[in-house]
């Protein structure tokens, strides 16, 4: 079966140690986590893990099954890129003098729709949100001028289709 990108969304209780439990499932099958983001979700007190992997659908399905089996996991889903709206964020730290010495940098900022977060005498910080390739393109454009620091976040994603997670939780509470 063909490998492709899958976004795994895990809704869980906010519990110390659960990340260890979930990452262990990937470890056992030697699947690299390409990106990981943990945040609160649309439901009060429920955490959401967004995990990106590059593997086959068969393995993704098995992994999701084993994640869902963990006691504190409420529900886990997986989706292809086509089924989700997804973004990443990145920060670029660049020497301030370049903003004046290299006119092209201002064009890069505009062309890539990025924002200036802060400016000081020594450096300024650009923030860029978008698809990974868009961030990569901006990185490539800035690189010749010198990037002092660069960081990119994990993917965050919402699905195009509804996720019936709230109903599921209500159902659990009724039982």
């Amino acid at each position: 079966m063909e490998k492709q990108w899958y976004t795994i969304s895990v809704y869980s209780e906010n519990h110390v140690g659960l990340l260890n439990r979930i990452s262990g499932i990937f470890l056992k099958r030697h699947i690299n986590i390409e990106s990981l983001n943990v945040s609160k979700s649309e439901i009060d007190g429920v955490s959401k893990f967004t995990i990106v992997v590059n593997t086959t659908e068969d393995w993704t399905r098995k992994i999701v099954g084993q994640i869902e089996k963990q006691i504190e996991v409420i529900k886990a889903y997986y989706h292809t890129d086509d089924e989700t709206i997804y973004q990443e964020s990145a920060l670029f730290k660049i020497a301030s003098h370049l903003l004046f010495d290299e006119r092209q940098i201002q064009n890069i900022i505009k062309e890539h729709n990025s924002q200036i977060v802060t400016v000081s005498r020594e450096f300024f910080v650009l923030a860029k949100t978008g698809r990974r390739h868009e961030i990569d393109e901006m990185h490539d454009a800035l690189e010749p001028y010198g990037i002092m620091q660069f960081v990119r976040s994990g993917r965050i994603a919402v699905t195009k289709a509804a996720m019936p997670i709230s109903e599921l939780l209500e159902e659990f509470q009724e039982n």
Partner: protein, 577 residues
């Protein structure tokens, strides 16, 4: 006002009591119906042991000679009673010594709660004396684990631990309790856990799937059942028997499914898997509908998956959704508790029989009997065989004993030839293959079923891994019958070396001590058999003993276990020699 206040205080007194965390742990155990635990004390768990001393009339603690023994004893107890086994240890090495038993319980779905002491909260993460991250270490091999650092957490977490361990697909839970939480006091009140919102132990059965399964079974020409421990854990033995009889379906078992169905039932066709029976393996690839009940298609069962039952429609009855399509693709997946789903299936099943199909199993059995079984259990050659010892025990026990086995050749022979009338009678380490499991598990099994005969079948290798537990048998006079089948080798590894490594016996030859003298050192009645002529008498003497008994049988050194499906081969390519 004053009266009201007093009344309030009185009410509070009724429902709660001010006690230490350590005492609270004891009350939690008592509330869960625990009256027997296995363990080993040490610094970080001492407050709990101090309470165990005070509560010894209500709660028996058995001091095993190694923490690993405590877990296996708890497993043995759980496997014959269906109750949650409990093991306790201190922090650090005490806790890490539990890990093998926990992993064993995880892969064999055994309900167990392990309680470990931990260094005091303020020392966590400081590499304190006997500090290990047992929660981190045990995460991959527990159904759930938790570290209690505040005394108030004790009742709720303990209740949750027992609920999770025994509900749904059972498994081990580890609760790590820091020393401060044991010393501190709380207003104790216990409520049993009845649910965890993020955890659905038993999936809802799907009526449509059951109807589809019934249709496939009713139209099958060569239906075949393979059942596992899910039948025992789900208490579905009666439903299984009813299905087998109503539809006339031959049924085979996995090693952990053994004893769920009477060995002498005419439609019980034997064991599947690497050292299973000839017919049940070969005919897996000839059936038209394969009905898997409470089993997980382990690689030791399926052999090469690419050639496993490809011709058959597969119906998978299973409680754990993660098992569906994990190894073998199911045409129909029936999720739920096996008792419930089989109960729903039964009325939809037509009465039927498949005499030609059943005759195929009989014919294959005859081939296996003539080439193998006969020589295994009624040998004419000089050396003693493991099979004849098991056969002798069958005769002496009337198929009524609980059999506990260790891991290796003797285990395969024991499971192949032991006969059972009663469920929950076969205790063995199936998934993990833990050598050293047998002796401590037999202690737990006996203490869980004092009214039954418990026979431990152990090899000379595995016996020496946990031989120290003879101390428990002696101290508490636990009347288990220990049979060591001594071939002076790590027999199964030696067999593989002979077959696949050109007989290079790397580290599989053992120079053993005098096992009879060791047993005598523990004041356990013992006997050694080296001649066939002594075997019957010795086994009868052992079975008649009211006390613990140790029997060493010197068996042929280089016998092999057959049939065998070599690793990676198809079930259809099972070898008779």
């Amino acid at each position: 006002m004053e009266t009201l206040k007093t009344k309030k205080e009185e009410k509070k007194k009724e429902t709660t009591m001010r006690i230490s965390g350590a005492e609270a742990i004891i009350h939690c155990l008592l509330a869960e119906g625990v009256d027997l635990i296995y363990g080993y004390p040490g610094g970080a768990i001492m407050p709990v042991y101090d309470e165990l001393y005070k509560f010894q009339d209500k709660l028996t603690h058995i001091l095993t000679r190694h923490e690993q023994g405590a877990t296996h004893a708890a497993q043995g107890y759980a496997r014959v009673t269906g109750k949650v086994g409990v093991a306790m240890a201190t922090s650090g090495p005490g806790a890490t010594n539990l890990v093998t038993g926990i992993a064993d319980a995880q892969i064999d779905s055994t309900p167990m709660v392990c309680i470990t002491g931990q260094v005091t909260r303020s020392l966590l993460g400081s590499d304190a004396f006997q500090e290990t991250d047992i929660v981190g270490i045990s995460t991959p091999v527990t159904k759930w684990n938790y570290q209690i650092t505040r005394v108030e957490e004790i009742p709720e977490i303990m209740a949750k631990a027992f609920y999770i361990a025994k509900s749904g697909r059972p498994g081990p839970v580890l609760i790590d309790i820091t020393k401060n939480a044991q010393f501190d006091e709380l207003d104790f009140k216990y409520e049993k856990c009845t649910g965890v919102r993020s955890y659905k132990p038993v999936p809802e059965p799907d009526t449509a799937a059951i109807e589809k399964a019934a249709e496939l079974i009713n139209n099958a020409k060569k239906p075949y059942i393979v059942f596992g421990q899910g039948v025992i854990l789900g208490k579905a033995e009666e439903e299984l028997k009813a299905l087998v009889e109503k539809a006339g379906i031959p049924a085979a078992w996995t090693i952990l499914g053994l004893s769920a169905m009477d060995s002498d039932h005419p439609l019980n066709v034997g064991m599947v898997g690497m050292h299973g029976n000839y017919g049940p393996n070969i005919l897996t690839n000839e059936c038209d509908v394969l009905i898997a009940i409470g089993m997980r298609f382990d690689d030791r069962v399926t052999g090469n998956l690419a050639t496993y039952a490809k011709q058959a429609k597969v119906i998978h009855f299973e409680i754990d959704p993660a098992e569906i399509n994990k190894n073998v693709k199911a045409d129909v997946a029936v999720l739920g508790n096996s008792k419930e789903t089989l109960g729903m299936l039964l009325p939809l099943i037509n009465e039927n029989s498949h005499p030609d199909w059943v005759a195929e199993f009989e014919a294959k059995h005859q081939i296996e009997y003539d080439t193998l079984i006969k020589n295994d259990i009624y040998p004419t050659k000089e050396g003693l065989t493991m099979g004849e010892v098991i056969e002798q025990i069958n005769e002496a026990s009337g198929h009524k004993a609980v059999m506990v086995s260790d891991v290796g050749q003797h285990q395969m022979i024991a499971c192949r030839y032991a006969k059972f009338k009663q469920t929950m009678s076969n205790v063995t380490s199936g998934g993990l293959g833990t050598m050293g499991f047998g002796l401590p598990a037999a202690i737990g099994a006996k203490m869980g079923a004092m009214d039954r005969e418990v026979v431990a079948i152990i090899g000379d290798g595995g016996y020496q891994m946990t031989i120290q537990e003879l101390g428990v048998i002696f101290q508490h006079n636990v009347p288990v019958k220990i049979v060591v089948l001594n071939n002076e080798h790590l027999g199964m590894v030696r067999q593989w070396q002979e077959l696949f490594f050109e007989s290079r016996y790397a580290s599989t030859v053992m120079t053993n001590p005098d096992f009879v003298k060791i047993a005598e050192g523990y004041h356990i009645k013992s006997r050694r058999v080296v001649e066939r002529s002594e075997l019957k008498d010795a086994v009868e003497e052992m079975m008649a003993s009211k006390d613990p008994y140790f029997l060493e049988v010197k068996v042929e050194k280089e016998d092999n276990v057959f049939p065998m499906i070599p690793t990676g081969a198809s079930v259809a390519d099972i070898r008779l020699k």
